[in-house]
Symmetry: C2
Subunit: 193 residues, 2 copies
Amino acid sequence: MAPAEDPAPDPAVDPRVHRTRQDVLRAALGILTTEGWDAVTHARLAAHAGYSKVTIYKHWPTRTDLLRDALGQLADIPHHAPTGDLRADLIGEMRAFRDGIRDHGLDRAMAVLGEQARHQADVAAVRDQLVSGGDRIVRELLATRLSGTELLAGTRMLSGAMFYSALMYGHVPDDDIIVTTVDILLRGTAAPA
Amino acid sequence: MAPAEDPAPDPAVDPRVHRTRQDVLRAALGILTTEGWDAVTHARLAAHAGYSKVTIYKHWPTRTDLLRDALGQLADIPHHAPTGDLRADLIGEMRAFRDGIRDHGLDRAMAVLGEQARHQADVAAVRDQLVSGGDRIVRELLATRLSGTELLAGTRMLSGAMFYSALMYGHVPDDDIIVTTVDILLRGTAAPA
C-alpha cells in the first residue's frame, strides 16, 4: 500500500533518510489497514521493513508519531482536478475516492482512524485534518449550489455512500452506482424549476 | 452499553444462565466499542464482568463465538415502526439509527466489524447479516419508489451520511441534518413532474 506519488523530497534531507522514512511509513500503513492499530509497533516495523528498531525509534520516538505520519500519507492519494462541469467533476471526485479505497485500503484506514479518534485527542486532530482535506474538493464543488446544512448533508451523502458501501457491504462502488448517487444528489439539490 | 430491551429469554435456559450471558455480552460490546477488537478476550471479560474464565469459556469456547454473540446484540437496537408516511418514516428510521450511534456506540461497533470482516470470512458473515438487517427498514421504505441501482444508491446515501458524519466528523447527526438529508434524497428520487 502506497500513495500514488511521493511528495517532493525536502532538499535538506539526505535522500537515503527520505527513502527510509517512505519505506517505513508505507509498511506501517500496510500493517494498519490489514492488521489494525495495535499491530503497528516499532518492533513489528523493524522486522517487516528491514530497518533496525534504533533507526525507527530515531525517526519516530513514539507510536503516536509513527501512526500520525503513516496516516498522513493518505493525504497524498490523488483527487480529481475539477474542470468546471459540476456533474462530471463530482463523478470524477467520487471515482478518485473509490480508487483510493480499491488501491490503497482508504476505507479501512479511515475506519481505524475514526474508531481510535474517539478516545485519543491527538488522533482526533489527525482525523479532522485528513477528513476535511479529503472532502475539500467535493465540498467546494457542492458549495457552488449549496450552503449551510444542505452543504453538510450533501457532502456526507456522497462521501458517506462510497465509504459505507465499501466498509459495511464490502462493495467497492462501481461507476454505475457512482453516477446514480451523483445524479440523485444533483436532482435533489437543483433549484425548483 | 446495552441493547434497549433484552430479547425474551429462552424458557429452556435457567434465568441465572441467561443473566450471566447478557452481562458478559454487554461487557464485551462495551469493551469492543471503547478499546477495540483485540481487547475482547476471555481473561479481560472475566476481570471486567466478574465471572470466572471457566464460566466464560464454557459459554463461548472461542473468541470468535464471543465476538459473534457480542455483535449480535446490535440487532436488538430498536428501529422505527413505519406508519405509511414515507418522509416521516425515513426521518424516524434515521433518528433511530442516530440514537443507536449516540446511545450504543453503533458506529464504532460497525467500524470495527467492517475492518475485521476484510480478513475473516466468519466475521464478514456476521457483518453481512447485521448490515442487511440494520438497513432492512430503510431499504423497504425506499423500495416503494426505487429499484435496482437507485435503490442501492439511495439506501447507502441515507445510512452512509449518518455513519460517515458520526465516525469521520465526530458529529452525531442532529434532527436538522437528518431532515435535510431525507429531503434531498426524496427530491432527487421523485418521479419527474
